[in-house]
């Protein structure tokens, strides 16, 4: 385990526990605006963390993660609105649908690496996006699905927040155990040195495909939560510009730390809200921030986090990068 010392291990859980307590108490003190905003942050944190399974841990740059997020959102919206299913059924269906697509898409994508992997994932995601947008009879076309019902018990903003938080924490825990399982470490080994891991008998394509599928499933959960929270789903959720957001959050917060993408999600939404109050040009500011990040750290954020911030982060949260 990271760091090798049991105090570090314990302190990682200590900080996580403290964060959970803080997040749980938070709505008691916050206004409605902040509660709604936090619900979105929590969902996006789940999306970003799911993405980081393949990005940070698997070393795969996918530009199609939005497809799984959107499919989860549509699964929830269609089931609850058009077929009258209970919300929990929708929430279970969301990862199943997303994982099924992720498995098939991933199976093809594993034939390629690096840039072509990014392009192929983008191509598939766009294909799914087009189908969702054009299949008006089933998906509502470009209007999407409005008025996704919400169960009585989640009617209040605080309860909705608690629900999203509980689901996200549960998923984050499961993903934590996945990345720290032998499977998770094999994934890191593949990222660091594919050839060597092959010599060790690791079936790299299969491991990566499984990671891709798991990441898709959790993105589906995030999507299901999202359409339930926003009460709508539209094709924009699957568009490639949506795929860029989890990449951004992972980079912002740090892709080699388990909680990095979540912190990135907080930073992303906080920045957006701060900017939007002052100007209409949020994309401009986001672009400048992103550009500064990329240019100021020529070896990539990757290198920066690995080299400079690692001792700092690993001391607190438990290291996630293989030595």
């Amino acid at each position: 385990m990271a760091g090798g010392s049991s105090t570090i291990w314990r302190s990682g859980w200590f900080w996580a526990g403290l964060a959970v307590v803080g997040l749980a108490l938070y709505p008691q003190f916050a206004s409605r605006y902040y509660i709604v905003l936090s619900t979105e942050v929590v969902i996006l944190a789940l999306l970003a963390t799911s993405y980081n399974l393949i990005f940070g841990y698997g070393g795969m740059v996918s530009f199609g993660h939005a497809a799984f997020f959107g499919l989860g959102a549509y699964a929830m919206a269609l089931l609850t609105k058009n077929y009258g299913s209970p919300m929990l059924v929708g929430l279970l269906a969301a990862p199943v649908v997303a994982a099924a697509f992720a498995f098939v898409i991933g199976w093809f994508c594993m034939r390629t690496i690096r840039l072509y992997f990014a392009l192929l994932s983008l191509g598939f995601a766009q294909l799914v996006w087009v189908i969702v947008r054009q299949w008006r009879e089933f998906t509502g076309g470009s209007d999407g699905i409005q008025g996704v019902p919400r169960p009585e018990i989640l009617a209040s903003h605080a309860n909705n927040y608690y629900f999203a938080l509980a689901v996200t924490i549960l998923c984050m825990l499961v993903m934590w155990f996945i990345v720290n399982s032998p499977f998770g470490w094999s994934l890191r080994a593949i990222r660091e040195n594919t050839q060597r891991s092959q010599f060790l008998g690791i079936n790299d394509r299969f491991y990566k495909l499984i990671a891709f599928t798991i990441a898709g499933a959790f993105a589906g959960v995030a999507g299901g939560l999202y359409s339930q929270f926003q009460k709508w789903a539209d094709p924009e959720l699957l568009f490639w510009t949506t795929s860029a957001n989890p990449v951004l959050m992972s980079i912002l917060g740090g892709m080699f730390n388990y909680v990095g993408p979540s912190i990135g999600a907080v930073a992303f939404v906080a920045l957006r809200e701060i900017i939007k109050v002052r100007t209409d040009y949020w994309p401009l500011v986001l672009g400048l921030v992103l550009l500064t990040l990329v240019l100021a750290l020529p070896g990539g954020i990757v290198g920066f986090v690995a080299e400079k911030a690692r001792p700092l982060l690993s001391a607190r949260k438990g290291e996630t990068r293989a030595p």
Binding site: L115, L119, L295, G300
Partner: protein, 294 residues
């Protein structure tokens, strides 16, 4: 809809027109990738800027000469923007990983989108083709707009010019050498940064040219950057990233898929386009004319 010869000619002409624009834009994308090994996500933004500059030039000058002036001014202006991008951003990240390059140029999309909104506003603009190109000619019992023929001619001229540039000039020889092995070329004393700058500026110029040529045909507005970017991606990927003949063939395929596809199954045309991209990437990731990544 009857499938008489006139209809087919009409569809072919409309497909060729679309293909021409796609070729001009995708050629820039593929040229930049071939030499710089960078996927320029902001290529669509350059195209959009070209269209907006063209609209401004045409509106300011008013007269019939406006379009012809724009045809020169917009690509040059976009080429200058390209120079700024190359000096300011790309030059610093040639050695970086793909994801860094993708993110940096994605950041440029966001920045240019808002800059265009600041300068030109969010309203759609439209300009008309000059009188000389306004009418249409009859083929059989169908009429084909003269402007479409003009665009197709331009694309053909451009394809020939690019071919001459790459295969018959000193710069072209250096570009081809840089595609093969930029490091070796640098070791031989060639100023690689200058080659890279030139190539990127040419790429931007092509995007701008695509923008002007499309201006009289559609409404000019925000969002046209993303539309063309994805289409140009598909064209470049199908033909093989970095390959000119590939871009030409890819543009032809996609142009025809759009024009015939919208006639046969309007809802599915776009899906077929992405399906084509996906299939090519699965079977031959380096495209029809490309070479496997080194």
């Amino acid at each position: 809809m009857t499938w008489d010869i006139g209809t087919i000619i009409l569809l072919i002409m409309s497909g060729l027109h679309h293909a021409s624009i796609l070729f001009i834009v995708a050629a820039g994308l593929t040229l930049v990738f071939g030499v710089l090994r960078v996927i320029n996500m902001a290529h669509g933004s350059l195209y959009m800027i070209g269209a907006f500059v063209a609209a401004s030039v045409i509106q300011q000058t008013g007269g019939a000469g406006g379009f012809w002036l724009a045809l020169l001014a917009a690509p040059v202006a976009v080429g200058l923007v390209g120079a700024v991008i190359e000096f300011g951003v790309l030059r610093r990240i040639y050695q970086a990983e793909h994801v860094v390059q993708l993110l940096a140029t994605y950041a440029l999309i966001l920045i240019f989108d808002d800059l265009v909104k600041m300068i030109w506003g969010a309203e759609y603009k439209s300009v008309s083709a000059p009188a000389a190109l306004a009418g249409s000619i009859r083929i059989g019992d169908q009429s084909v707009p003269v402007y479409n023929l003009f665009v197709i001619t331009w694309a053909l001229i451009l394809a020939a010019a690019l071919w001459l540039l790459i295969y018959r000039t000193g710069l072209g020889r250096l570009i081809r050498a840089a595609v093969e092995d930029a490091e070796m070329l640098e070791a031989l004393g060639v100023n690689i940064p200058r080659i890279f700058s030139s190539v990127f500026i040419i790429g931007a110029f092509l995007a701008g040219l695509g923008g002007v040529l499309v201006a009289p045909r559609g409404s000019i507005g925000l969002g046209m950057d993303l539309d063309i970017l994805i289409e140009a991606f598909v064209v470049a990927v199908i033909g093989g990233l970095g390959s000119f003949p590939g871009a030409l063939l890819g543009a032809g395929i996609i142009g025809m898929m759009y024009s015939f596809g919208t006639q046969i199954a309007p809802q599915m045309a776009m899906a077929f386009v992405f399906l084509a991209m996906v299939i090519v990437l699965i079977i031959r990731p380096w495209g029809l004319f490309g070479e496997p990544e080194r």
